[in-house]
Symmetry: C2
Subunit: 336 residues, 2 copies
């Protein structure tokens, strides 16, 4: 049926130990043996049985990645970055999408533990600390993605959301806006809260008086954005904000739809609009969206690198990696 290391050994006229050495420590084997074994492998079409390897050597060649919103292009980009890095190490990614459902989150953590992944990347939603602790004690290094680990218990890779919020509102103020609405939520989500905090800081430190109101949403989807836009437009015109800072690009796209419907192009002249994440759909919008860019691929790459390092050295100290966000200006905030 399938070809094992024993078959290779026989064909090459060496012991199984030698074949294993060729596979793992070719430097310790004579060039002659390496050649013969390599040829046998080639001829037989042998591929290593990863299960046996994992069982005996205890090394895993997979890393789990659990994201909280598989529909969000931002996470797709992060995954892409992790994938690239993983491929260079011959590591495969086990993927799970929780769609903000804590029970799905639990299922995946158990499933990946059973698979004995080498490490786990996670953009957490629910309260997963207990599970993460158990994972760690089972020898699986967890790294938080897109979430700062405040108490420093786990490593994390994220972007400074407070700075991002500040960048966004600074930009709106600089382009002459004074009545700003922050549309986002749920505010229990750390990232959302931080973005709002940055926005507040910016508004308070401005040279002139700037009003900042909060329009809360229950999730970060396009539909919620549409609804929030409709609520804003329902007010008397003089109570409209002159700028909206959306908590992420999906919300911004929904808002844009509301704000240009009925043939009225309110963006950017009447109302400026800025998003967060700078996903490909921000640039692709009918009115290209200004946004706060997160280096998403880099986040993925870095997270994967860290998880491998931690797996290699279980005693390593957790560390927080924080990237700086970047303002990307497009038409949706063009000066009025």
């Amino acid at each position: 049926m399938s070809v094992s290391i024993r078959d290779v050994a026989q064909r090459a006229g060496v012991s199984v130990g030698t074949v294993s050495n060729v596979l793992n420590r070719p430097g310790d084997v004579s060039p002659d043996s390496v050649a013969r074994v390599s040829q046998a492998i080639e001829e037989l079409g042998y591929v290593r049985n990863d299960a046996a390897r994992k069982l005996r050597a205890g090394v895993s060649t997979t890393v789990g990645f659990v994201v909280l919103d598989g529909q969000n292009p931002f996470y797709n980009d992060v995954v892409r970055g992790a994938e690239d890095e993983a491929a260079t190490h011959g590591i495969a990614i086990l993927y799970g999408n929780t769609d903000e459902d804590p029970s799905r989150e639990k299922v995946y953590l158990d499933l990946f533990r059973e698979q004995q992944v080498r490490g786990l990347l996670l953009s957490p939603y629910g309260d997963v600390l207990p599970q993460l602790r158990r994972l760690r004690s089972a020898g699986i290094a967890p790294v938080l993605v897109d979430r700062f680990s405040a108490d420093g218990e786990f490593s994390s890779v994220s972007v400074d959301s407070v700075a991002g919020g500040r960048l966004a509102v600074d930009h709106l103020i600089e382009t002459g806006r004074r009545r700003i609405a922050f549309v986002g939520g749920p505010l229990q989500l750390r990232q959302m809260n931080d973005r709002l905090a940055g926005a507040r800081a910016s508004a308070e430190n401005a040279a002139t008086r700037v009003d900042l109101e909060v329009v809360a949403t229950t999730s970060m989807t396009v539909d919620e954005g549409v609804a929030a836009g409709a609520r804003i437009l329902a007010r008397p015109r003089r109570e409209w904000p002159d700028a909206v800072f959306a908590g992420n690009d999906l919300l911004a796209l929904g808002l844009l739809q509301s704000l240009v419907s009925g043939g009225r192009m309110l963006v950017p002249d009447e109302i400026a609009l800025i998003g967060f994440d700078d996903t490909i759909f921000a640039a692709a919008a009918a009115v290209p969206l200004s946004s706060i860019r997160q280096p998403s691929r880099m986040i993925g790459r870095t997270a994967l690198r860290i998880v491998l390092e931690e797996a290699a050295d279980p005693k390593s100290i957790p560390r927080q990696t924080v990237f700086a966000p970047e303002l990307v200006i497009r038409r949706s905030t063009a000066g009025s």
Copy 2:
């Protein structure tokens, strides 16, 4: 260190064989033993070592999924469907994104083979037939996704793209359009070609004279859509089409951006626009896009189900599953 079945057996006062039976064939074990073993598992926090299980029993609990464009929300949805189905079987998904790069495709197929996945879902780009054959002879069932296997050599799950193209153009004609442009490519991609063929069939069968021109793109991205839109607008106005059928939603979004820029809202009055896939971003566009819906989650679910069935019965005959597309009408094709 980690808890094994032996520890559980000892704690429960039974043999390892019994514990294994509780795990796999609880019906064959006395209720009393089941209870004692379950409790021991609970107390010790035992999780099955999948590597050992895979090694001995030869059953794999992972399925590979290789998609050709991880940025495309359509594939995210398909993956999501596969995920849902997989979870109900306790199966995890190894994910790989090739970004239309045949060498990446090869890397993933090898990697997944080494992992001994139970089966492989693949939206193919390059010529992978030889590799798929090798996979199959290694006992890994491949299923093509979003691609019809013309020669019937492998199972496939897809949507009738020809019918989709016909639906789109029928709709444009019904709403009074007569000069239609198909924007899409590369035409070597089976899906694209089929969509165009459907469009042609519709135009030729129309009661009145309908012109159909082809504006070819080199890939199916937003940027290509923007460029195609610019090329169209660069012509004298009387040579503009009165409707555009985009090969997928990403192209349509790019086209939309071109066609509403400069404050001119050409869609839908001057030019109607319809996409393909009905991704969430079609509904989310500034002018909500009409599109041809593919039952993307269902495609994923079905593909996963088939791959499991084929893995269970290696002698099963490949079968082609083809879903019907569905027309979704939104503002972008509102009657003029």
